[in-house]
Symmetry: C2
Subunit: 111 residues, 2 copies
């Protein structure tokens, strides 16, 4: 019993030591962990949108939206497409939607 417990601790310590993707994982989820950004992502699931339209949908200033889009861009969750004066943003890949769905599954069941 005591033996297994120490074994588990050792195994966990090795795992945590080796796995440097844990920080990347936390960083990724931190990006999803703000309602403004999740709103933007869910909006872009419906259609690509320019910054002004996103601001209109969320009832926020362009500036605030632009700041959040920068964070989403850096996390490679959205990608910009400049068309004339406007910059249209869309989801970077289908992973984004699947991560959102994954979270919704937990919410619907658990609670």
């Amino acid at each position: 019993m005591e033996y297994n417990r120490l074994n588990a601790v050792k195994e966990v310590q090795n795992k945590l030591y080796d796995d440097n993707t844990i920080y990347d994982l936390a960083e990724l989820y931190k990006v999803f962990g703000d309602s403004t950004r999740t709103k933007i992502l869910i909006s872009l699931e419906i259609s690509p949108l320019c910054v002004d339209d996103i601001a209109l949908c969320l009832n926020m200033t362009k500036s605030a939206v632009s700041h959040q889009l920068r964070i989403l861009r850096q996390a490679k969750l959205v990608k910009p497409d400049k068309r004339g004066k406007e910059v249209y943003y869309s989801l970077d890949d289908e992973h984004v939607s699947s991560i959102i769905e994954c979270g919704l599954d937990h919410i619907k069941e658990g609670k």
Copy 2:
């Protein structure tokens, strides 16, 4: 073209207005968005552990770990099991692992 754009905005606004799970979703991901908590979750994927052992694995104080476990408990991501003096924590359900896997998929591919 302009017509479709306005249509998209309306559709997004309706979606955001109806969907009050967006805040729950952001709250859920906020919990994952801290490396201490993701370390705890990944540790518990390997084995149920008592608070002292988690603290040992993460090289943190019991107090700090306990504070984070409280947050994980409230989010229904871990569940406590009191055995005598010790409290063993384990993952609340299999959703937790699948959310972690979902994030790792994005990291591995994207970059």
